[in-house]
Amino acid sequence: MLQNMIDSSMKKSPWIFHINAGSCNGCDIELVSVLTPRYDAERYGFKLCGSPRQADIVVVSGPVTMQSRERLRRTLAQVPEPFCVVSLGSCPRSGNVFKGSYAIDGPLEKYVHVDVSVAGCTPKPEAIIAGLAQAAQLLEEKRKEARK
């Protein structure tokens, strides 16, 4: 029963860690605006945390630049299981307008399996919330799967 409670609380308290992999800051601002009173993702237990060790959902924004590549990979490695990766905006998934640049070593899929993507340049906060909620749902499934 305790395990079931843990499973169900998995989706009720997803903590977000945000990695900026060379983003233009547009998506980052929108992510923060998700926590403002108007959108208030906190009512679903979302919380921005400062360390990947505490994260359940890793939100990555930006095309993966050469500079950020190693940092991104190391940080992603440090997140405890189970966790979800959400790509924010068009860049992590494709490189967007930076596609083909010598400074880009994307896409994000190359480094980690992206569970949920929120497209848009930049996505609206509602879309981000929807994406995060989807990821939170996935968390519970992952935990259940892990237990089997």
């Binding site: 009720k12 308290s13 009512r43 237990g45 400062g50 360390s51």
Partner: protein, 320 residues
């Protein structure tokens, strides 16, 4: 046999483990909800601290390579146990506690020891962020210790004025004096001390405007940088338990002696007062203040808050 059973009930059920944990989580949930409402938001549900704790228990625990494993994992448990035992010395209304002569200093030191457990845990994690965090935690501890001590001395001097030594360091004695003479908050000399105590509480707990040690945006959660999984959950739980301990301490020091004699009513009264104190000292500053800087915290506590507590102490001195 019944004694042992009663002891076990005290320890684990009523004023003990279960009650303290439930109260702590409840207070934390209410605080979060109220902060959200004061910021014009809906906010997380009141059960959110439960979810957070349970979720942390379900996560993987990573022990970093540089960490000292034993201390790293032992520190959260030590912190939790120390806080629970500190809570047991604080009487619930009606005086249910494991009180003995001079336990006020024990409570003071147990609270310090809980802080030290956090510091040792974070130091054992070997992270530079944790290093910065523990330094800030320590500075915060130095900051609030002076006013805290002064407040305790003021209450001790007020409630022990009839005793043979003119002072008391016993929780029981403090509550007994208040039962006979009315709550010490009604005593005019105590009002500055109560205000000082209201300022001490959030810093002691590390609540928002004073959470310099765990500043998530500046130093990656500071002391908790390397913690994940169940140990992190225990630390978060400790945070909640500390809320109960501090508010209950406030109730015992300033609002003691309101006992009705019926255990259930007393416990309810305690809960209500704890919530009120939580609202006053944690929710309001949390909702309206941005985080302080390290040196600002130090200056604030050693000047303004200490002065309030000192005024109270001197007033007691003069009026007795």
């Amino acid at each position: 046999m019944t004694n042992v059973l009663l002891y076990a009930v005290h320890l684990f059920l009523f004023p003990g483990l279960l009650f303290i944990v439930v109260m702590g989580l409840l207070l934390a949930g209410i605080d979060r909800k109220l902060v959200a409402r004061m910021q014009n938001r809906v906010g997380a549900s009141i059960l959110q601290p439960w979810y957070d704790f349970l979720k942390c228990c379900g996560k993987e625990t990573i022990i970093p390579r540089h960490a000292r494993k034993g201390l790293f994992l032992g520190a959260p448990v030590a912190c939790f146990v120390i806080l629970i035992s500190a809570a047991l010395f604080i009487p619930v209304f009606g005086g249910l506690s494991m009180s003995f002569e001079g336990d006020v200093v024990v409570i003071l030191y147990l609270l310090t020891a809980a802080g030290v457990a956090i510091i040792v845990g974070s130091a054992a994690s070997g992270s530079p962020f944790a290093g910065v965090g523990l330094s800030r935690e320590m500075v915060a501890m130095i900051s609030y210790e002076l006013p805290f001590v002064l407040v305790l001395l003021a209450v001790g001097a007020l409630c022990g004025q009839d005793s043979a030594y003119g002072v008391t360091f016993s929780m029981d004695e403090i509550v007994r004096w208040q039962t006979e003479n009315g709550s010490s908050l009604l005593h005019p000399a105590m009002i500055p001390a109560a205000i000082a105590m209201l300022f001490v509480i959030p810093c002691e707990i590390g609540m928002h405007p004073f959470d310099i040690a765990e500043a998530e945006t500046e130093i990656s959660e500071g002391t908790l940088t390397e913690y994940s999984g169940a140990p992190l959950g225990v630390f978060k739980l400790c945070h909640c338990v500390k809320m109960y301990v501090m508010t209950a301490l406030f109730c015992a020091l300033f609002l003691g002696g309101l006992s009705t004699g019926i255990l259930l009513v007393d416990a309810l009264l305690e809960v209500v007062f704890c919530i009120i104190v939580t609202f006053l000292c944690m929710t309001v500053p949390h909702a309206i203040c941005a985080r302080f800087k390290v040196e600002q915290v130090f200056k604030f506590y050693w000047t303004f808050v200490s002065a309030l507590a000192l005024i109270s102490l001197l007033l007691v001195w003069i009026m007795r």
